[in-house]
């Protein structure tokens, strides 16, 4: 997928960092000033996404940038709602990497379309991009042009492997939720969603929730979507609006929810599951790139243990592998063995261009 990956800590990129006739994906941490990106030649394409932080080896950076030069066989596209361009480009695709604005209300629509059009053995991984500092700056751009109302997708003809897990555990439920605009829970069990959530946290954990601490509380006590399988997709409450809960991800209009609990101990287990998933029983891995998508919430819950998680991943997958990644606001991981979903608080590990 990537032929060359370069890390730029606090550095301003200049024009000669980019070659003509090549395409780059820049993953910028939110405190990296993307306004300093150089004007490149007309034949160079620069896609840029902004995320809360980037990961280089086992370290997290909030003001750095990772520049990925796309391999010749990899295509990158910005797809709008109907994804017409995508449909034409999927013939020989084996791996998909997808980036979407985490506040976009059409995420399920994009996922449905992407899943529908990709082949039966394609792996899809991806992330919700965005900022946590509240600044209203572009999230996705292409040669400085702002990209809205769609998603960036990279298509590679080479296979990849993915493993993912969140580690959050079921605590109480289930409840019936009514939603609006995809990511707003209006009511739960007939009560205003925020009132219900506040009541449940007080009752079960003696925690006081308010509009200021909602995100940190939401990370510790996320909501789980009712579904079959080993782990329920999570929806982390991240804000309050008119008594509605804003969650980090899409939901159907009628959903069942449960109260989950994320502890440092439970989350730390997740990375091992993700590593096991991506290894698939192989001791030797023939890949050079390990791309990590770590939910921003994991860092906030794990605090200092988060660096241990990154170090453990690097250690367990081997130093020969090139480790890099991003902190995300929502994760996508699908190996075509079940229907595609959007996750929260997950650790997703992808071995890019790895043989099956």
């Amino acid at each position: 997928m990537f032929s060359n990956v370069t890390f730029y800590p606090h550095t301003t990129l200049i024009e000669r960092d980019f070659e003509p006739h090549k395409t780059y994906l820049l993953m910028a941490a939110q405190h990296y000033d993307t306004n300093t990106l150089p004007v490149v030649s007309a034949t160079t394409t620069l896609f840029c996404i902004t995320v809360p932080a980037v990961i280089w080896k086992a370290t997290l950076y909030e003001d750095a940038l990772i520049c990925c030069e796309l391999a010749v066989n990899t295509r990158i596209l910005f797809c709008e709602k109907e994804c017409d361009a995508l449909a034409k480009s999927l013939a020989s695709c084996q791996s998909v990497l997808m980036f979407v604005d985490w506040m976009d209300t059409h995420i399920y629509r994009y996922l449905d379309r992407l899943f529908s059009l990709t082949g039966g053995d394609v792996t899809i991984m991806g992330a919700g991009c965005g900022r946590t500092d509240g600044k209203n700056l572009p999230i996705m751009t292409c040669n400085a042009e702002v990209l809205n109302g769609g998603f960036i997708v990279l298509l590679s003809p080479l296979s990849s492997r993915i493993g993912s897990s969140h580690g959050s555990a079921f605590h109480n439920g289930y409840y019936i939720a009514h939603t609006e605009n995809s990511n707003q829970i209006v009511s739960i069990n007939g009560e205003k969603a925020f009132d219900f959530y506040t009541k449940m946290l007080k009752q079960h954990f003696h925690e006081e929730v308010n509009e200021t601490n909602i995100f940190s509380m939401g990370l510790k006590y996320p909501l789980g979507l009712g579904s079959m399988g080993t782990e329920q997709p999570l929806r982390v409450p991240s804000g309050v609006k008119d008594g509605h809960l804003i969650v980090a991800g899409p939901m159907e209009e009628e959903s069942t929810l449960c109260l989950m609990r994320s502890t440092p101990q439970s989350l730390l287990v997740a990375h091992s599951i993700a590593v096991e998933g991506v290894r698939g029983g192989d001791k030797e891995l023939s890949t050079q790139s390990c791309f990590m998508i770590e939910c921003v919430g994991r860092r906030l819950v794990l605090e200092s243990d988060f660096s241990q998680e990154l170090e453990a991943i690097v250690r367990e997958l081997g130093d020969a592998c090139h480790h890099f990644g991003i902190l995300s606001l929502g994760e996508i991981a699908n190996s075509a063995d079940k229907y595609i979903e959007y996750f929260n608080e997950s650790c997703v590990i992808g071995l890019l261009d790895a043989a099956q």
């Binding site: 990709t118 039966g120 289930y174 019936i176 159907e252 979903e341």
Partner: protein
Amino acid sequence: MQLNEQLLITYECVSSVGTSLDLKTMIEHFLKVFSRKTGSMASVYWQFNPQKKDFEPLCFYGKRSFSTMLVLPTEPMENYTIVYDAKSDKERLHVNVAGDWIVFLFHAKQNDVGFMKAIINSFSGKLENAIHACKNHLELLEMNENLAKKVHEEVEKNRQKDQHILQQSRLAQMGEMISMIAHQWRQPLGSISAVVAGLKLKLLLNRFDLESVEGREAHKQFTNESLHKIEEYVRFLTNTIDDFRNFFKPDKQQERISLEKLVNRTLEIIGKALEINGINVKVSVQTSNEILTYTNEMTQVILNILKNAEDVIKERNIPHAQIGITIFEKENEQYLEIEDNAGGIHEEILPHIFEPYFSTKQEKNGTGLGLYMSKIIVEDHCQGSIFATNTIFGAKFSIILKKEDA
């Protein structure tokens, strides 16, 4: 925990059933929710087509590359059957509902398909009812569409019938017009004939001494006077033709005119015929305010009523025959009343006189369309009203038209 999961997934799937009366929309939504909740990678709804006696895919959801695996049962099977495909290591769940088949595809290792079967079985009744409701709704829509088509056809037939009636009415009116022209022309033609006869007679009897200057002068004067008279009569004949020709032109635009002028214009056409038949016409005008109306069409209406009165008067040999025309204004309306003294209309036929093809004078070429057309003109074209009543002397027709500023 598993019971809990089953309940909640059942709840969400049940909620997704019956959200639309369009079968495709409803099933698409159901397949979407079911796939998201159970992990089904692809699903298809096979609908039975009774005309083709075969199943056709109505909608598909999930990975398109798996669509070829979502096949119909090749042999008879129970309504809820799981089929394992060893080659692809996938399981199909076949569900027969409302005579159609839904086929779901699962990854064999990742999913407990037996559990999914139990879930969908638990709300099969609702799913079946919802599908039947959609199908019934579609039938109803088709019936409504056919009904709408039929109504359209009938309306078209009626329109053609109306056009036919209008045409007949025009032909009838033309017949009456020719009769009226004949009346109008009889007197001037007679006069021309008399002048010519007088001229011929005087010439025959050598009443002029053409040898003398006085005789030649008298002859010249008499000839000039005769020719002048003939010229006057010819002008009258020409005017009569112009009046009728204008009358037959259809109005495209409304004109501002007083009812008095309309009545006078009509009397210019029919007045002579009435006079010849000894019918005295009295016009009483209480307002000269103008209204906005289709003048030729309204003339046709007045003419119809006057012609009917003339016919009845002649038929009943009414002595001292009279027609009274009154024009007055009340509030926002102007009234035109035409009353005769011919004894009135029989009470049993009074409610029917404005119906098409209703006539009391069939033997005398009555078409039964005159009053029907009059009603159409007054009520549909001019937004007014027309009705008939009996007075102690005869019949009275009242036309009510809105004033321009009303």
